[in-house]
């Protein structure tokens, strides 16, 4: 497979996952506005969303301090100046897909192109007619269709591994960033730890990851920081946990190593396996003792190292 094709498939997976993350943020925002306000009112919650997506600065540059629902919608959904908006990600995924048309089945292309065409129509529609639920439904529906088409029709070849590698690394990154934000931003004052507000904010994180119900199935009882963190970091059943995402990355990298044998280096696979082992050696107490933020910083760095190794091993077209 061409190195450029592999890179495009990998990034197509990443962008599709990223679009979903943006929609999930929007969804949680929509819920918050329906709940009784916390200390500073919903404005503060909108702001935390911006921080969760790491976009406070760019948002302020564009909209000033007008953190309104409409501006947030524009930013997270429509705005092409925001590289992580749903529109940007779908456009980039579709553009990537168009470049590697030959590596996609017609069903996958069809799903991707339909998402893009409908997005174009949404953009010309009057904003008054679009509610938030519709925007998030739009995104999750299309991303499910694309993913379904990938799983149902793509050959289980190296291209498939690259797409799924993109999905899983992006997901590992998104979950750890959301967790990190919770620890430092959603909770500005230390006396809140363990308070009702604290637990409520952990719920927000669960919502943001569409994991609210799944969490109750898995743990039951009160929502506590330890349980939520365990669910999102170390639980192998949770579809968005760091462990699951990393496990999937390893599985796909192993697939590539098996397929390519000695004809390509395997540094990414070795690296990912190391991180996975290191993750499995921890329990949640150890992580809290180590400091959640310190742990997440380490993890985000490791994911980025794996991503760089993938780039080096497969996309550089080395001589």
């Amino acid at each position: 497979m061409l190195s450029r094709t592999a890179a495009n498939l990998f990034w197509m997976g990443r962008h599709l996952e990223r679009a979903e993350t943006a929609a999930r943020l929007l969804d949680v925002g929509a819920r918050i506005t329906l709940l009784p306000n916390t200390e500073e009112g919903y404005r503060n919650e909108w702001e935390s969303l911006l921080r969760a997506s790491g976009a406070q600065g760019p948002f302020a540059e564009r909209y000033g301090d007008a953190i309104t629902q409409e501006n947030i919608e524009s930013w997270l959904f429509f705005d092409c100046d925001n590289p992580s908006s749903v529109a940007s990600c779908i456009e980039k995924a579709r553009e990537g897909g168009r470049i590697v048309r030959t590596a996609l089945t017609s069903q996958v292309w069809d799903a991707l192109n339909t998402a893009y065409q409908e997005l174009r129509q949404l953009r010309t529609a009057s904003r008054a007619k679009l509610d938030m639920a519709m925007l998030t439904d739009f995104t999750t529906r299309h991303s499910s269709t694309v993913r379904g088409a990938i799983n149902a029709t793509q050959l289980r070849n190296d291209g498939w591994h690259f797409i799924n590698l993109g999905y899983s690394l992006e997901r590992a990154d998104a979950t750890s960033r959301l967790l990190d934000v919770k620890y430092f931003v959603l909770l500005p004052r230390v006396e809140f730890v363990g308070s009702g507000l604290d637990n409520y904010q952990w719920q927000v994180i669960l919502r943001a990851l569409s994991a609210h119900r799944a969490f109750h199935w898995a743990y039951g009882g009160d929502i506590t920081a330890a349980k939520v963190a365990d669910f999102l970091i170390l639980n192998g059943e949770s579809p968005r946990s760091l462990l699951t995402s990393l496990y999937e990355a390893v599985w796909n990298l192993d697939g590539l190593v098996r397929r390519y044998g000695d004809s390509a280096p395997a540094t990414a696979s070795v690296k990912a396996r190391q991180v996975l082992e290191s993750l499995m050696a921890r329990d949640i107490e150890a992580i809290f003792d180590e400091g959640l933020h310190e742990f997440l910083t380490w993890f985000i760095g490791e994911i980025s190292a794996v991503s760089n190794a993938v780039n080096e091993d497969y996309f550089s077209g080395r001589m």
Binding site: M1, L2, R4, R98, T102, Q117
Partner: protein
């Protein structure tokens, strides 16, 4: 005054007998529904094109007309012989002008037209590509003016585009109207990609070991024909590469893959000569592969079409193609040229300047329907404007009579109406010369218009050749 391919007065001609009933019995609601369905299919598949420098919708559709254009087997056989003959002669000419130039020595074509032609590539003089083929895909634009009167409007020896429309138009017609295909015996065209792959593999260089690796080289996804490039790569099962995916090492060309470098034997390039190799041609080209031409000249890789093939298809050399057929093949041309006045000749110049209002004037190197004057449709100011352009540089122009292009029935709001059409078949030249029975029919959708270019309001149709 125009040859109507469907109607002979009030009688329906043989090729359209079945379609005539089909149209007559189709309710207009169904027709509108099917038209909308066709458009949705094109958009979903992603067959769109961008018009250079036009702005607006980057994903525009070429209008598709559901009414097929039909040829009888007997009509097609003559066309086929004429097309293949022409493709052979053009390749013989290219072989000749890059070696001994016999046709010039024999005084059958002026040396100036060849050796001073912008498309004449001095970098490949003396080099004979595998099997002596320069132009592997020859697109020949043909117009019809009567029952048995076909004329060649121009030849395309470089990288003629449009074949994806030939294939997709057929796919969509078969999907929407399967009964039409069950009830008619229509020659298939879907073997084209396989024939193309085979043709390209047949011109692999002598240094190639084992099964040749064929790739399509595209300028990238911003190019208006990118859809076609990826479409063909997909159907042929070959890689679609950009210049940056390729590199030269030790006399061979390699592509960068996830498993390291892989050698490439045949490049079907969809970029123009000047961009192929920044070391040999334009230094600022980001699309090409540095060192490619050295590998090509040393027989390490084949390029289709061969660099320099364009010298055979400009509008000045065009006038000499019948002469080429006689000179190289010893045959009489089966397909005629359109009468052409070349403005660098004094007597032609005088005639054309006196009759601008009746003629079509084209730039020698122009294409896509740009830079041309259609006398009978032009205003006095337009004619006077063009007169000044010609006076400034007569050698840059040729003139032709306004042809009475045949019409084919086309769907319009009120039913069907005759609209002017042309035809571009795609002839393949490798170890054999082959042609699928079909081509791209372009139609001028505006009533009375003679311009079929998609950039100027033209559409496309499925083209049928009925079997015996």
């Amino acid at each position: 005054m125009y040859y109507n391919e469907m109607m002979d007065g009030a009688a329906v001609r043989a090729p359209y007998a079945m379609l005539s009933d089909w149209v007559a019995t189709m309710p207009s609601e169904i027709r509108q529904m099917k038209q909308a369905e066709a458009e949705a299919l094109f958009r979903r598949i992603g067959i769109t094109f961008a018009v250079y420098g036009e702005g607006g919708d980057p994903d525009r559709l070429i209008p598709f007309d559901m009414m097929p254009r039909v040829f009888l087997q007997s009509e097609w056989r003559k066309l086929e012989r004429g097309i293949k003959q022409r493709a052979r002669a053009l390749n013989a000419f290219l072989r000749d002008v890059y070696s001994r130039g016999e046709i010039i020595r024999a005084g059958r074509i002026p040396a100036r037209l060849v050796y001073q032609n912008e498309a004449y590539e001095k970098a490949v003089v003396g080099f004979v590509p595998p099997r002596g083929v320069f132009s592997h895909i020859v697109g020949i634009d043909i117009v019809r003016t009567g029952r048995d009167e076909f004329f060649v409007l121009e030849d395309n020896c470089r990288t003629p585009s449009g074949v994806s429309y030939m294939l997709e138009n057929r796919e969509i017609m078969m999907r929407m109207f399967p009964a039409l295909f069950r009830n008619n015996r229509i020659e298939p065209v879907d073997q084209y990609p396989e024939l193309l792959r085979r043709t390209l593999a047949s011109v692999a260089p002598a240094k190639c070991e084992g099964t040749p690796t064929v790739v399509i080289l595209t300028p990238g996804h911003f190019n208006s024909a990118y859809y076609e490039h990826s479409f063909l790569a997909n159907l042929m099962g070959v890689e679609l590469v950009e210049g940056s995916d390729l590199f030269v090492d030790g006399g061979f060309v390699y592509m960068r893959t996830t498993q390291g470098p892989k050698r490439v034997d045949v490049i079907y390039r969809r970029i123009d000569d000047p961009f192929l190799d920044p070391l040999c041609f334009r230094k600022d080209s980001m699309l090409g592969v540095p060192g490619l031409m050295d590998v090509y000249r040393s027989g390490g890789v084949s390029i289709a079409s061969a660099p320099g093939a364009g010298v055979a298809d400009d509008k000045a050399v065009y006038t000499f193609v019948p002469e080429m057929i006689r000179f190289y093949l010893g045959e009489e041309p089966i397909l005629q040229n359109v009468q052409t006045w070349t403005l660098w000749k004094d007597e032609d110049y005088k005639y054309v300047m006196a009759n601008l209002k009746d003629l079509v004037v084209k730039e020698v190197h122009g294409s896509g329907g740009y830079g041309m004057l259609i006398g009978p449709k032009a205003s006095t100011e337009e004619i006077e404007h063009f007169r000044k352009l010609i006076e400034a540089n007569p050698g840059n122009y040729i003139a032709q009579p306004t042809l009475a292009l045949s019409t084919s029935p086309t769907f319009v709001d009120e039913g069907i109406a005759p609209r002017h059409v042309d035809l571009r078949p795609f002839c393949l030249c490798g170890d054999r010369v082959e042609l699928v029975q079909g081509g791209l029919t372009r139609v001028a959708l505006r009533d009375g218009s003679l311009v079929v270019n998609s950039s100027q309001g033209g559409g496309v149709k499925d083209t049928w050749v009925l079997s015996e």
